[in-house]
C-alpha cells in the first residue's frame, strides 16, 4: 500500500482513512470481530439501507446501534 504525503512529507488524512479501511477489512476477513467492534465509537450506526433515502420510515437490511452490532457479533461467534 502506497502512502500519500502532502508537500511537507506528512501522511495525509486520505492515507489514514485508507489505512483504517484496510484494517477494518482485514479484521473482518480474519473474523476478528471483537477487535472490529473496537473500531467503532459508542454512538456508531452501522447501516445497510435498501433505498438511498433518509426517510426513517424506510426499512434497512441492517441498521444497528453499537449495542446492535455487539448483539450481531455475539450471535455470529457463539454456538447457540
Amino acid at each position: 500500500m502506497s502512502v500519500a504525503m502532502d508537500a511537507s512529507g506528512n501522511v495525509t488524512a486520505v492515507s489514514r482513512v485508507e489505512a483504517l479501511l484496510y484494517m477494518e477489512a482485514r479484521l473482518l476477513d480474519e473474523r476478528r470481530l471483537e477487535e472490529w467492534l473496537q473500531l467503532f465509537t459508542d454512538d456508531a450506526v452501522y447501516a445497510l439501507p435498501i433505498q438511498v433515502s433518509d426517510d426513517p420510515r424506510e426499512p434497512s437490511l441492517i441498521r444497528d446501534s453499537k449495542a446492535g452490532m455487539e448483539e450481531r457479533v455475539s450471535r455470529t461467534e457463539e454456538s447457540w
Binding site: 435498501i50 433505498q51 433515502s53 420510515r57 424506510e58 441492517i62 448483539e71 450471535r75
Partner: protein, 440 residues
C-alpha cells in the same frame, strides 16, 4: 394410498388428479394428516394456481402503494403478472401485465406513477385503466382494428377493506366482505393499532426468496410450536440484552391456561394470539404514551384488543403481523417469494414508529435474528418431504383439546396446529374440481 409419484408415466387425466387431491388431506377422529405430494408435485402446484390463486379473493396490494391517481405497483396473482393501477379517476384496477399483441409485460417497474403503459416490444400503448390507446404504426392493421376489443384485461372484481386491496378473477364471486366475515374483527383490531386506524407501507420492502413450497410460509406464521426450537438463539439474544430470560420465554410458550391461543377460522384463515405480547419482539406496554393515545382514540377495551399480539393469516397469501404486512407469492412448486412491508402507524409519533421498525428489523429483517432461521427451516422441510417412504405430515397437535366456538373458530393452545388444519380444510375444499367446490 399410492403416491402420485409412484404412478409416474401413467395417465394423469384430470379425473385421476382430482381424486388424488381430495385424498391428500386426511381428517380422522383425533388425527389430521396431509400428504407430502402437496409440497413437491408440479401438477398439484398447477392446480393450486388455477383453483386457489386463479379464483377466489387474493390480496394484491395495500392502498398506500397506490395512494394517488396514476400510481401503480406490480405483483402477481399466482403466477400471472398484474399491475395494480389507480386510474386518473381514482379507481383501482388489477390489470394483467401482458400486451394483447405478443405477450410481453407492458410494465417492468415495481412501483411508480404513469398515465399509460408502453409495451417495450412493439410500442403498443395502454391507458392506466387498461384501454388500448393505440398500436404503433397503425396502418398495418385493417380499418376495423379498434373493434377487436384489444386491451389489458384485468380482474373483474377488485375490492378493498381497511386499506387491503383484493382481486378476484371470478365476476360472479361473493362480495369481499362476505369472504372476510370470520376474520373481519381481527383485521379491525390490527388496523386499530394505528391511532387513526390507518397504516402506510414504505417504498422499500424486505423481500426474500426460498427454494421451497409457498405453503411452508403459510403454515409457519401461525405456528406457535416452533419458537422454542427455531428461535432459541433469539431468546438468548434477549437474555443477553437483559430484556427477558430465555427460560421464562420457553415456559411462557409452553404454559397451559394462559391467554395465548392458536385459532383456526373458517375459509382457511387463522391466527396466533398472545395477549402478553410476542415474547420480546414488540411489547406495547413498553410504550405507555402510545397505549394512552390508543385508549383516548378508541377506548380502553379497544386499545387492549388492538394491542394484543397477533399473527393473522388470510388465505391464501396474506399475513398481518403487528409490525408488517407479509405477502406470499408462489413462483414454482419449490420456489417462493415473500414480501415483507413494515407498516407505519399513521397518527403515532415518528419516534414510536422508528422504535417499531427497529424492533421489527431485529426479528423479521433479512439480516435479523428471527426470520432467517425460519427460512432455513423451510429449506430443511422442502428437502425432507422428498422422502417417499414416509409421505405423511402430522398436523394433529391439539386436535383432542381444541374447542369449536359458537363463532365457528377452532381455538387451541398457542402451540396447537388448529390454524394449520384450517388452512388445509380450505385447501381441500378449494382444490375440488369445479362444480364440487362451495362458494368461492
Amino acid at each position: 394410498m399410492t403416491s402420485i409419484a409412484d404412478r409416474e408415466g401413467l395417465s394423469t387425466s384430470s379425473d385421476r388428479v382430482d381424486h388424488d387431491v381430495a385424498a391428500l388431506v386426511v381428517e380422522e377422529p383425533g388425527r389430521f394428516r396431509i400428504h407430502s405430494d402437496i409440497y413437491v408435485q408440479p401438477h398439484i402446484f398447477d392446480l393450486e394456481m388455477k383453483r386457489i390463486f386463479g379464483s377466489g379473493w387474493v390480496f394484491v396490494a395495500h392502498e398506500s402503494m397506490v395512494p394517488e391517481p396514476g400510481d401503480y405497483t406490480t405483483t402477481t396473482l399466482g403466477r400471472q403478472p398484474v399491475i395494480v393501477s389507480r386510474d386518473d379517476q381514482g379507481v383501482v384496477h388489477v390489470l394483467f401485465n401482458r400486451c394483447a399483441h405478443r405477450g410481453s409485460v407492458v410494465c417492468r417497474e415495481e412501483r411508480g406513477h404513469a398515465s399509460s403503459f408502453r409495451c417495450p416490444y412493439h410500442g403498443w400503448m395502454y391507458r392506466n385503466d387498461g384501454t388500448l390507446i393505440g398500436a404503433a404504426q397503425r396502418s398495418g392493421y385493417p380499418d376495423d382494428f379498434e373493434s377487436w376489443g384489444l386491451r389489458l384485461a384485468g380482474a373483474p372484481r377488485v375490492e378493498e377493506y381497511r386499506g387491503l386491496i383484493f382481486a378476484n378473477l371470478d365476476p360472479d364471486c361473493e362480495p369481499l366482505m362476505t369472504r372476510l366475515a370470520g376474520v373481519k374483527g381481527y383485521i379491525d383490531a390490527w388496523a386499530d393499532r394505528s391511532p387513526t386506524g390507518r397504516v402506510t407501507v414504505p417504498t422499500g420492502s424486505h423481500r426474500y426468496e426460498y427454494p421451497g413450497n409457498w405453503k411452508l410460509q403459510t403454515e409457519n406464521g401461525v405456528d406457535g410450536y416452533h419458537g422454542n426450537y427455531v428461535h432459541e438463539s433469539f431468546a438468548n439474544i434477549l437474555e443477553r440484552a437483559g430484556e427477558r430470560k430465555a427460560s421464562e420465554i420457553s415456559r411462557a410458550r409452553n404454559r397451559v391456561g394462559s391467554k395465548n391461543y392458536a385459532k383456526g377460522l373458517a375459509r382457511g384463515d387463522g391466527l396466533l394470539e398472545r395477549e402478553d405480547g410476542m415474547l420480546g419482539t414488540f411489547d406495547a406496554s413498553v410504550y405507555p404514551e402510545y397505549k394512552a393515545l390508543l385508549a383516548e382514540r378508541h377506548g380502553e377495551e379497544r386499545m387492549r384488543e388492538a394491542t394484543t399480539q397477533r399473527n393473522i393469516f388470510i388465505f391464501p397469501n396474506l399475513y398481518l403481523f403487528e409490525s408488517h404486512i407479509r405477502v406470499i407469492r408462489p413462483v414454482e412448486v419449490a420456489k417462493t417469494y415473500v414480501e415483507v412491508y413494515p407498516t407505519t402507524l399513521v397518527g403515532a409519533d415518528a419516534e414510536f414508529n422508528a422504535a417499531r421498525l427497529k424492533e421489527h428489523q431485529r426479528f423479521f429483517g433479512p439480516a435479523s435474528f428471527g426470520q432467517p432461521d425460519d427460512i432455513e427451516i423451510f429449506v430443511c422441510a422442502q428437502t425432507g418431504v422428498n422422502v417417499e417412504a414416509m409421505p405423511w405430515m402430522e398436523l394433529s397437535r391439539g386436535l383432542q383439546r381444541e374447542v369449536l366456538t359458537e363463532d365457528g373458530e377452532y381455538v387451541g393452545h398457542s402451540t396447537d396446529e388448529s390454524p394449520q388444519r384450517a388452512i388445509y380444510r380450505e385447501w381441500r375444499e378449494r382444490m375440488k374440481p369445479a362444480g364440487e367446490a362451495g362458494t368461492k
